[in-house]
């Protein structure tokens, strides 16, 4: 630092402090990431999702052909073949809407104890139709009460119109 830039030195120090603070925030973010995405959890197990179907909430059954797009008014559910997962594996299945909110769930429990094959999407409170956008369905392996590995995933689109 040359004498002529001395008056800028406090500002230079301050912005370096901002940079240091940023690194602390990134480290905190990385720690958060690692705690929810712990390394070394891959087992190679793959669950089989038979498909996503139109769903009748009254009869609690699916119908028709598997689809990737649904209208807002059409309830739908994913059908999971739980027998494709080794017995004793703690699993859960969850639906997420386009806001990342959980809008449907099965489990957690042992794979062999999961009886409901169809996991439907529930309507958000106060709404009569599904929110449009991309919906994510995942079958997850649970360890110490926390999802640690995705065994299968499926994306479907709920149309705006």
């Amino acid at each position: 630092m040359t004498p002529r830039s001395d008056e800028i030195l406090p500002l230079y120090r301050a912005i370096k402090l901002v940079g240091a603070l940023a690194i602390v925030i990134f480290v905190a973010g990385a720690l958060e990431f690692v705690s929810f995405e712990p390394p070394g959890q891959t087992t190679g197990t793959v669950a089989r999702i038979q498909g996503v179907y139109a769903y009748n909430p009254d009869s609690r059954s699916v119908s028709g052909e598997p689809a990737g797009h649904f209208s807002r008014g059409q309830p739908f559910a994913a059908v999971v073949d739980w027998t494709s997962i080794p017995a004793g594996t703690q699993v859960a299945a969850r639906w997420f809407d386009s806001f990342g909110e959980v809008v449907g769930q099965a489990g957690p429990g042992n794979a062999e104890a999961m009886t409901e094959n169809a996991v439907p999407v529930a309507l958000p409170q106060g709404l009569t139709q599904n929110i449009p956008g991309t919906y994510l369905f995942v079958v997850e392996r649970i360890s110490h009460g926390q999802p640690v590995e995705v065994l299968a995933r499926r994306l479907v689109e709920v149309e705006r119109t």
């Binding site: 800028i8 690194i23 999802p147 590995e149």
Partner: protein, 444 residues
């Protein structure tokens, strides 16, 4: 043109070329991947972006021209800019977020967002008490934030999130990853506008204060366009109340706390770098400002859920407290940097005004120093000059302050403009003074 300036211009040209290619790729991806209506939007969007680029180029060249030719360039730039805005308004009508809500809601949302954004710009413009940045540059920065930066990030964020959703476990880890992508891509896209101004418009980019002003203006532009997108989307899902709440949150509560603060941090780093002597220090200052902006943005997006909202009337209080607690500290950092910068600028302005007056060149008279050193006294002198004299005296004061700031940069070895620019400015001040036929004291 000296070597340093040529190097800066070449770097700016390279950046602009890369950005244009990214925008072309983004537009092409829109065309290939989205359905019918957004395709039309993308087709209209590409020429709009090209026109904005053209307007910026012609507008910047105008500053290099003699006053007699400058007006022609400014008119061209203004025309290109207006055409781009028109095209962009068409894009707005058909843009993906507005499909469900329709052009009427989109137009109403845009109208609702205009007054708070204009107010925000007015406040930001007044942050520099000594030498206010030209409105045209502030508005170019705002337009960049609204139009160019938003176009730059759409696909970068979409592709990153597409990867993340297919690779990670849904939950806080995925949320943190998406928050990082938003912070990284959005702050890069916004900050590059301030970087280009720093590279090309060095005469109008003096220090940390200017960096904060330009950065905040870019942030306000980005916030404007993002608000419209969210308002129309939420209106289509939950109705006008949700859109209204979104307007309040983004355009009132978050106006200075969100994007304006983040990009002001980028601007602060670049502004500080403007006055540092070594290349390594300059790069470090710019990097630290940018990292600060990305971290602030990341912290808001990733840790918002750690401040859960209750139900009922208490929610309204919680929403305000959440913004204050999470974004407030970063806004405070910007304010501290701003105040430090203003003190340094003010102190040096007074010193250089005094030195210029002592030189006897006549551009600044000894009795004018105390008036020029105080924004309040400058205003008082302009008001005393009457309606016609107000603007004439304003021009004279601006030129005198530009001379003092030029001297300051020369003294610090930061001036890379033509050697005779300072003398030209003195000549212009004398012309302005003789045209006004009176100084601040009323004497001819």
């Amino acid at each position: 043109m000296n070597l340093r300036r040529t190097g800066r211009y070449q770097l700016a040209l390279l950046l602009a070329g890369v950005l244009f290619l990214v925008l072309v790729a983004s537009s092409a991806l829109d065309y290939l991947s989205l359905d019918q209506i957004p395709n039309r939007g993308a087709l209209l969007g590409l020429p709009a972006v090209a026109l904005i680029g053209g307007a910026t180029w012609v507008g910047l060249r105008a500053f290099q021209q003699a006053p007699t030719v400058r007006r022609r360039y400014e008119l061209w730039a203004g025309t290109l800019f207006a055409l781009a805005l028109l095209l962009w308004l068409l894009v707005l009508d058909v843009f993906v977020f507005t499909q469900q809500a329709g052009p009427k809601v989109a137009a109403l949302s845009a109208l609702a967002c205009l007054p708070p954004t204009a107010f925000g710009l007015w406040v930001v413009h007044r942050l520099d008490r000594e030498e206010k940045e030209p409105w045209r540059l502030v508005l170019v920065a705002t337009a960049w934030g609204a139009i160019v930066a938003t176009s730059l990030v759409i696909w970068a964020e979409s592709l990153f999130q597409d990867w993340a959703i297919n690779a990670l476990v849904p939950g806080p880890g995925l949320d943190a990853t998406n928050a990082f992508s938003a912070g990284l891509f959005e702050e890069l896209a916004k900050g590059v506008a301030v970087l280009l101004l720093y590279l090309v418009m060095r005469d109008q980019f003096h220090d940390v204060v200017d960096g904060i002003v330009y950065g905040a203006a870019v942030g306000l532009g980005f916030n404007f366009m993002e608000s419209i997108g969210y308002m129309t989307y939420l209106d289509s899902l939950f109705g006008p109340t949700a859109a209204g709440f979104q307007w309040y949150h983004r355009q009132v509560l978050d106006l200075f706390f969100g994007h304006a603060t983040y990009t002001a941090l980028v601007g602060a780093g670049i502004g500080i770098a403007r006055q540092l002597p070594g290349r390594r220090q300059q790069v470090l200052a710019i990097a630290c400002g940018w990292l600060g902006a990305i971290a602030a943005h990341f912290a808001w997006d990733a840790w918002l859920t750690f401040f859960p909202l209750g139900t009922g009337a208490i929610t309204l209080i919680q929403v305000h407290l959440r913004v204050l607690a999470m974004n407030g500290p970063f806004t405070a950092v910007v304010l501290v940097l701003l105040l430090m910068g203003r003190r340094i600028e003010g102190r040096n302005l007074v010193r250089q005004l005094g030195l210029e007056a002592e030189s006897g060149a006549g551009a600044i008279r000894p009795e004018e120093v105390s008036i020029l050193a105080s924004p309040g006294r400058r205003l008082g002198a302009r008001l005393a000059a009457g309606p016609r004299g107000y603007f004439r005296l304003g021009r004279l004061q601006r030129a005198q302050i530009a001379l003092a700031l030029g001297r300051w940069h020369r003294e610090r070895g930061e001036q890379d403009g033509p050697q005779d620019a300072e003398q030209d400015l003195r000549g212009r001040i004398l012309q302005l003074r003789s045209a006004g036929r009176q100084g601040f004291t009323g004497r001819s």
